[in-house]
Amino acid sequence: MIPLPWYLTLAAALFCIGLYGALTRRNAVAILMSLELMLNAVNINLVAFSRYVTPAALTGQVFALFVIAIAAAEAALGLAIIIAIYRARETVNADEINLMKW
């Protein structure tokens, strides 16, 4: 069986890549994509702990399902907001959307 720390390392690396993308991308759609990467990393952790620590209870898998459902809602809502911003301001670059920044 593959050691549990390998899965945790993979998930941590995926989370860090997503964090890097969320902090460096200018386009809001790309920032949302990086968020999805981070949510996937969390899901890998949940499923790995479910498999290695409580193989019979499957609680981690149930939580991963809920995370997937909320991630889908978040993507739909975020992209709708981005399309509305694009209509109003002709841009979706996060550093140009500075109306409420001082």
């Binding site: 069986m1 593959i2 549990l4 720390p5 390998w6 945790l8 390392t9 993979l10 941590a12 690396a13 995926l14 860090c16 890549i17 997503g18 964090l19 890097y20 902090l23 460096t24 991308r25 200018r26 386009n27 759609v29 790309a30 994509m33 990086s34 990467l37 996937n40 899901n43 890998i44 499923v47 790995a48 479910s50 498999r51 290695y52 620590v53 409580t54 193989p55 019979a56 499957l58 609680t59 898998q61 149930v62 991963a64 399902l65 809920f66 997937i68 459902a69 909320i70 991630a71 889908a72 809602a73 739909a76 809502l77 992209l79 709708a80 981005i82 399309i83 509305a84 694009y86 979706v92």
Partner: protein
């Protein structure tokens, strides 16, 4: 599956996941980013199969690859003017952010993961995980399931209202 084959599969899926994720955050063309995101989702589904979570692997392919990634492609095509090759896609903080993220990974995550002896339960998972998941969702997690359904409904109605042409 035999033991060495599992290791080979793990390394293939792990390399695919991390390589495609790196391409997602560094690619100059955002359409390529979205396609690499599909590849990441597929290889994470492969990892779920290795973890004996077949239902979650199917859900991952159906929801992430089938719905979320297509939604991203649509959003990129609608906002075509700012997603092309000619537009700079990264801000100026790339160097410092890379340092901070690497520090987080090597300085906090790795010592945390390898400095603790994780308890591993040696029992094998039950063969019919799908029916157990269904039981759990209909009994112990029935209320969270309903709340998740309401959240999805509210979010999608809100998305339609936000994106609707005036």
């Amino acid at each position: 599956m035999t033991e060495p084959l599992v290791y080979v599969a793990f390394f293939i899926f792990a390399a695919l996941t991390l390589g495609a994720a790196l391409a997602v955050v560094t690619s100059r063309n955002l359409l390529h980013s979205a396609l690499f995101l599909v590849l990441t989702f597929f290889s994470v589904a492969g990892l779920y199969v290795l973890l004996e979570a077949e239902f979650l692997a199917a859900v991952q392919v159906l929801i992430y690859v089938g719905a979320v990634a297509i939604l991203f492609l649509f959003a990129l095509m609608v906002t075509r003017r700012v997603t092309g090759e000619g537009v700079r896609q990264s801000n100026e903080q790339r160097g410092p952010v890379a340092l901070v993220v690497l520090g987080l990974f090597a300085g906090i995550f790795l010592p945390l993961i390898f400095g603790y002896s994780w308890y591993v339960n040696p029992t094998a998972p039950p063969p019919n995980t799908v029916s157990i998941l269904g039981d759990l969702l209909m009994t112990a997690y029935a209320l969270p399931l309903e709340v998740a359904g309401v959240i999805l409904l509210v979010a999608l109605v809100g998305a339609i209202i936000l994106a609707k042409e005036e």
